[in-house]
Symmetry: C2
Subunit: 185 residues, 2 copies
């Protein structure tokens, strides 16, 4: 059961996309095997259970998220960092309108589970808030965790409702309004 390998990578990549499009429960191992072009029986050589695949997906999501945060921290201007993050989301508006927030939609699905996956997913949200709170702290604010929560909740809400209404344009305009809110702080 190797940690890295071409097939393993392909399996995780396929699972990542399928879970985003269909959700975790609606995605079958057959789907993942099919999309990654790995024979179904072979999947179990790389992952003992379906949940293990989801955990690998979440792990990648967390890493990618961390990279995104780092990419939005180059300047020492916290306000600019927050705006840069929102701008990155704006660029994905179409995909979000179609499939929802990569993290948020998975969280909501896993939250209805007793699986330990739930905690891993929720950790992504918490790290997201922590990063935002840190920016607010740099801006000299108190009650930074409240502000961090407000910021992330605002983003998640826009993505959820924008997804439900299938309106990428509305997602964009609302995210731009969020930028203005940040600027006004």
């Amino acid at each position: 059961m190797p940690r890295t390998s071409d097939k393993r990578d392909r399996l995780v990549e396929a699972a990542k996309n399928l879970i985003h499009r269909q959700g975790f429960h609606r995605t079958t191992l057959a789907d993942i095997a099919d999309e990654s072009e790995v024979p179904l029986g072979n999947v179990y050589y790389y992952f003992k259970t379906k949940e293990d695949i989801c955990e690998a997906v979440l792990e990648e999501r967390r890493l990618k998220l961390q990279e995104t945060f780092d990419g939005c921290c180059k300047s020492n201007q916290p306000k600019q960092n927050l705006i840069e993050l929102v701008n990155k989301i704006i660029k994905s508006s179409e995909k979000i309108a179609e499939h929802g927030c990569i993290i948020g939609s998975l969280c909501q699905e896993l939250d209805k589970t007793k699986s330990p996956l739930r905690d891993t997913a929720d950790k992504c949200i918490q790290e997201h808030i922590d990063w935002a709170s840190k920016q607010f702290r740099k801006m000299g604010y108190k009650k930074t965790s409240e502000l961090g929560f407000e910021f992330i909740a605002r983003l998640e809400g826009i993505m959820l409702v924008g997804h439900a209404l299938h309106e990428p344009k509305r997602i964009k305009s609302q995210l731009r309004a969020t930028c203005k809110w940040i600027e006004s702080l």
Copy 2:
């Protein structure tokens, strides 16, 4: 296949609760039959498919939502109406922290589906926005649909993140902040 009956009511009531707690896909007909104390084979006398049960659940949710809106429209003070709605949500903070938003979490699950149920669920969100937009219009605002979207997105975001973090207190404080925002308009 009667429209009303004691057993049918019990089935819908059970499905309503189970779907909120477990999600639609994780809830089996056996679960619903068990909780409503209706024999499994008998379920099909009342509903032809599992999706039909979900549709009945959504129908009830919409009716209940409409009642809530009407209950928040007694006064002719739109600002007060919006605040009253938020206060009603505040009262459910514990349940929301545990299982998420009744409408939002179901929407996000069904949105990943090609089922016609998706549209029914999304209609709930749209009606929610429409009601809010109407209040903003009464307040003399232009761009009311943008404001209505912002209001609902804010509520949904708070519920989603509050659910992920299992923090009823944070849900309450954020909803109170939302009230202050409304008051400041």
